[in-house]
């Protein structure tokens, strides 16, 4: 059964979400998560961001494992 998932947000994405952490209804996969997030925060549609699951960047659409640590990462700008 789907539970809540905890999402971490960083940088400009955290700013748009108004928060660095977000409790969210668990989704099946990352495409579903993006869709739901962008429905609630339309600004996200125009923003570039990657998703990390358990601290690894994912490519394409990936199933969300249970109790995954999900993070929304705008383009890096360290250094």
């Amino acid at each position: 059964m789907y539970n809540k998932i905890n999402i971490k947000a960083f940088g400009m994405i955290a700013e748009k979400l108004g928060n660095t952490a977000l409790e969210w209804d668990a989704c099946e996969d990352t495409d579903g998560l993006r869709k739901e997030l962008e429905a609630r925060f339309p600004d996200l549609k125009e923003m570039k961001y990657s998703i990390a699951i358990n601290k690894t960047l994912i490519v394409g659409n990936v199933r969300l494992p249970e109790q995954a640590e999900v993070a929304l990462l705008p383009p890096f700008s360290g250094g």
């Binding site: 940088g11 990390a52 601290k55 993070a71 990462l73 890096f76 700008s77 360290g78 250094g79």
Partner: protein
């Protein structure tokens, strides 16, 4: 200085990196008498002009756990690729004012070429791959998000 132990280590420092810290790090290598060359890169915060004003500081945040894992992975890859004696990476978190140092990358090797090439590659990978973000604080009290080119 036992750089070969290869366990994840913290790269983050709170606020600016002081020239004294850099001097101490250099001095710590004088006992390593197989080192012939050190290569150092320092990132310094610029007073760039933005639409909303002039940059006075950068406030750095990071996805720390992921950044440390990634830094460790990069570190291992660079050690495997180049014959290095030592490698050090320090990145600021929090506020670093214009003119202050926010990144300190330090590689050492027997012959200069390895240290220089490794330092170069490290800096590129750090900027491209570490989940760190810079918020450029403007003199207007506004801010813009730093973009790496």
């Amino acid at each position: 200085m036992s750089e070969k132990k290869r366990t994840p280590k913290n790269i983050f420092v709170s606020g600016a990196i002081s020239p004294e810290k850099i001097a101490q790090s250099i001095a710590n290598h004088s006992s390593k008498t197989d080192i012939g060359g050190h290569s150092i890169f320092l990132g310094q915060v610029r007073a760039d002009q933005k639409e909303g004003g002039s940059v006075v500081a950068i406030d750095y945040t990071a996805y720390e756990e992921m950044a440390l894992e990634k830094a460790f992975e990069i570190r291992e890859a660079i050690f495997a690729k180049y014959p290095l004696t030592c490698m050090h990476i320090y990145h600021s978190l929090g506020e670093v004012k214009v003119g202050e140092i926010c990144l300190f990358v330090f590689t050492s090797s027997k012959h200069r070429r390895a240290a220089m090439d490794a330092c170069d590659e490290l800096v590129e990978r750090i900027k491209a791959e570490l989940p760190v973000w810079g918020k450029e604080i403007l003199d207007s009290d506004g801010h813009v998000w730093k973009v790496n080119t």
